[in-house]
Subunit: 128 residues, 2 copies
């Protein structure tokens, strides 16, 4: 089971609030500051384009994807794609590196572990 | 592991798009229609008040919560709380019944199973 607290994607400012203990939603109500820390991550996923981008980055064979390989799947401009990627990055869901001309994106697995831990319904009967 | 497709919370219109097969994001990119079906659920969770409301409903001992027991935890009006609960309900995350004066809310566990299945990073090595 996911431990409470302690898992903080490095790229998210809000995530510092999650250093305090939290529990899966089926076990205990979230405190206001905890909800404020988690909400931006869900909000970032609450857009179809960003959700597709995340899935393309997360399922990339080599562990990272060049932004040049992401844009072709959408009828959107480069700046629009870059904006959506920035939202994902600021939410701590992906990280990026610029190498030469291109920016490369990779998943922050700890962020998904955090979200699945929060929504895990199997932890209802666990001890606190 | 969560099976692909088939798990559809009864209250969400968008979720009908999820009758088509989908896979966890670490395994395969989402199709546009699949992303459009999942995104409203994440968007509903992308607000601190709604996330707190969901956690209060999900962790309720009796399996359901009267709206009268939810409003006291927020410095918000009744109609505002009701609006947030409506968003959660329309996203298929909670369901509700009116009994007498009050409306009672309960979690739709299948919705959380669906979201945790989508974000499950442990399924990366599973066969398709």
């Amino acid at each position: 089971m996911l431990c409470k607290g302690g898992l903080m994607p490095s790229t998210s400012i809000e995530m510092t609030s999650l250093s305090a203990a939290w529990a899966p939603v089926v076990r205990r109500p979230l405190e206001a500051d905890q909800a404020s820390a988690f909400a931006p991550m869900f909000k970032a996923l609450g857009d179809p384009v960003r959700l597709r981008l995340l899935s393309m980055i997360a399922s990339a064979g080599g562990g990272e994807v060049c932004v040049c390989d992401l844009t072709g799947s959408f009828k959107l401009t480069g700046p629009t794609i870059s904006h959506h990627l920035k939202v994902l990055r600021e939410a701590g869901l992906v990280d990026s590196d610029r190498r030469g001309t291109w920016v490369y994106y990779r998943l922050v697995p700890a962020a998904l572990v955090l979200l699945t831990g929060l929504l895990d319904i199997t932890s209802a009967a666990a001890t606190n």
